[in-house]
């Protein structure tokens, strides 16, 4: 739940990102408070993934401010941001397909050298993701899509993030598996990790999130609590397929 009295853990102020001459994100404002699960929904090409990559540092920021824990981190390189606690689970999962599940998880602790802490976190991840534990010795590329997504989330958790950026975790997964992933996401939030979730599956994302931002054409067009957005007729018709819901 948002604790409005404190400074936000992450704050985007008039953030702009562009690919060459094409401006993908046209000056957006987003605020995240510690412990929140906030989602960013929108159609294809709205600039969601671009925003997330800019926060993680894999894309340069053209203009505006990116504040993390009250400090501007516009020019901090990706690996330093991870050290400060911003972890990204990239779109399409991006796991190391030739490594086993366990090795994938351990690669997540690449920046750490506290052996005991890593072992403890491995256990923590196992309790959060029991399915992952069953597959430890398996080569990650042979897992199902949902399991791969869990490995990707688990790997990100091993860097002990404060802020987790999830890029379309439901992509290409069966509806039942998507539910499981969202349950995992919720467990992670309960563990005290703040999450910014990018989703096309707006229905589920809004249901689980405390707040949501709607993005369109590189701008934030709406922002409200999850329920309010779910009830918003504009959102319903644009992103939730109103007819299907009425029927």
């Amino acid at each position: 739940m948002p604790t409005n009295d404190k400074t936000p853990i992450l704050q985007l102020q008039k953030l702009q990102v562009s690919y060459g001459h094409i401006q993908a994100v046209k000056g957006i404002d987003i605020e995240l408070y510690s412990g929140e699960l906030v989602c960013l929904i929108g159609a294809n090409g709205a600039g969601k993934t671009t925003t997330l990559n800019a926060i993680a540092g894999t894309l340069p920021i053209r203009d505006g401010q990116l504040m993390y824990q009250g400090q501007a981190i516009n020019n901090v390189p990706t690996h330093q941001r991870l050290r400060q606690g911003i972890a990204l689970v990239p779109e399409g999962r991006g796991i190391f397909t030739r490594l086993t599940v366990e090795e994938n998880l351990r690669m997540g602790a690449y920046i750490r050298d506290d052996k005991d802490g890593i072992e403890a976190d491995m256990e923590r991840v196992f309790t959060m993701l029991p399915r992952v534990k069953e597959r430890l010795g398996q080569v990650a590329g042979t897992l199902s899509g949902g399991e791969q997504q869990m490995v990707a989330i688990g790997r990100a958790l091993l860097s002990r993030p404060k802020l987790l950026l999830l890029d379309e975790p439901s992509m290409g997964l069966a509806p039942l598996v998507v539910e499981t992933i969202f349950e995992v996401v919720q467990t992670v939030v309960k563990e005290g990790v703040t999450i910014l979730l990018v989703e096309q599956n707006a229905n589920l994302a809004l249901e689980f999130s405390s707040r949501g931002y709607v993005m369109d054409g590189g701008n934030i067009t709406l922002s409200d609590s999850g329920e309010a957005l779910l009830a918003n007729p504009k959102v319903r018709s644009a992103y939730l397929g109103e007819e299907a819901n009425v029927a």
């Binding site: 690996h79 990239p90 030739r98 490594l99 690669m107 080569v139």
Partner: protein, 367 residues
């Protein structure tokens, strides 16, 4: 070493210890055996060892970090010319090897970084083209830097390079032990090169299983994921280029001391491709595979040269196919067959980053 042992078809699995001693014996006795066939063969062996070092260095860049480099021979050239500048009558400098070799390695590493910076954002085809261009640029510089100021002596190359002088013992002179028994200098060079190769293998092996090695492997497999787990991809790539180049520089220096002569034509594009072929043929990312690839592809053409001529004479009464043509033909044929039947090389690399020996139990899937 373990990977080499694995490579022996039958013995490697049944009696790894026996296989290990067999390899050790073979390594130590190879020049003696070669000597039975004449000096030429020892010389060929010496060159094979230089190629092993080059292939190991290139494997660092191509096999470990996944950065395709078609201009690797440039670093070899940098090492060789460093030797030529600092240890020959050309500039009248005669520095000892323990200064020249590290300097050559350092210059090569700098060249690696110079190449690395502009290609940081490139991958695949584009990277290959730029590195290819870099290799040619270095060669053309060597070819043309004789005017207005004569630095490289142009296409004539530099002559009369100092030999390897190990603290007073010039190893290009035969060692007379008794009246009838003396150690051939080619044999001494063999053992010297062997020492360097073994040293390289140890260093590269350590690198492979270190954090750095894991970082490279992650970049090779998925660059975005590598960034996401906090790898500084820029520095890691630069490190791969410069460390890979270092090995090229050292072997270049050794080449200079061995050959006594350097000229730009030794560093053509075909050489870069030949070394890359060795890496791919043996198995990218696998130290043992790369060694076998380099030895096989540097020895086979020579064997062929020895066989093709007399056989053709016997069969047709004249030489129809020039052995040099035959060599290229067979090399390409070997590559095509490899791609068809063993796309990951003679000895495929283990997928595991940290402890490849674990993979042996499970025999991970071929990629």
């Amino acid at each position: 070493m373990n990977e080499l042992v694995e490579a022996i078809p039958w013995l490697g699995h049944r009696h790894p210890k026996a296989a290990r001693s067999l390899i050790t014996c073979l390594m130590l006795l190879a020049p003696m055996i070669a000597l039975l066939f004449g000096n030429t063969w020892v010389r060929i062996l010496d060159f094979a060892l230089l190629y092993v070092m080059l292939a190991l260095g290139l494997n660092l860049v191509v096999g470990f970090a996944g950065l395709l480099d078609l201009g690797y021979i440039a670093f070899y050239a940098v090492g060789a010319y460093t030797w030529a500048f600092l240890a020959s009558p050309h500039f009248g400098l005669h520095l000892p090897f323990y200064l020249v070799l590290p300097l050559g390695a350092a210059f090569a590493a700098c060249a690696g970084i110079i190449l690395g910076f502009p290609v940081l954002r490139l991958r695949g085809d584009y990277l290959a083209i730029v590195t290819l261009g870099f290799g040619e640029i270095v060669r053309i510089f060597m070819n043309n830097l004789n005017y207005p100021v004569n630095i490289t002596n142009g296409p004539q190359g530099i002559n009369m390079l100092d030999s390897m002088n190990l603290f007073g013992w010039d190893i290009s002179h035969a060692v007379q032990i008794t009246d009838t028994f003396r150690i051939n200098p080619l044999v001494s060079f063999y053992y010297l090169f062997l020492l360097f190769v073994v040293g390289s293998v140890i260093v590269i092996r350590r690198l492979q299983i270190s954090r750095i090695g894991r970082g490279w492997a992650a970049i090779r497999d998925d660059e975005l994921a590598a960034k996401a787990i906090g790898i500084n991809t820029r520095n890691m790539k630069l490190l791969a280029f410069s460390l890979g180049a270092t090995f090229g520089g050292v072997s270049g220096g050794l080449f200079g001391s061995f050959q006594g002569f350097v000229s730009p034509e030794s560093f053509s594009l075909m050489e870069s491709i030949a070394i890359l072929t060795m890496v791919v043929f043996g198995g990218m990312g696998n130290i043992g595979g790369v060694i076998i690839g380099a030895v096989a592809l540097s020895l086979l053409p020579e064997v062929l040269r020895g066989i093709a001529l007399p056989v053709q004479q016997q069969l047709f009464g004249k030489v129809i196919l020039d052995p040099e043509v035959l060599r290229m033909l067979l090399l390409s044929l070997a590559m095509i067959l490899m791609m068809q039947f063993r796309p990951a090389g003679l000895i495929p690399a283990n997928a595991r980053y940290s402890r490849p020996e674990l993979a042996r139990a499970g025999k991970g899937a071929q990629s």
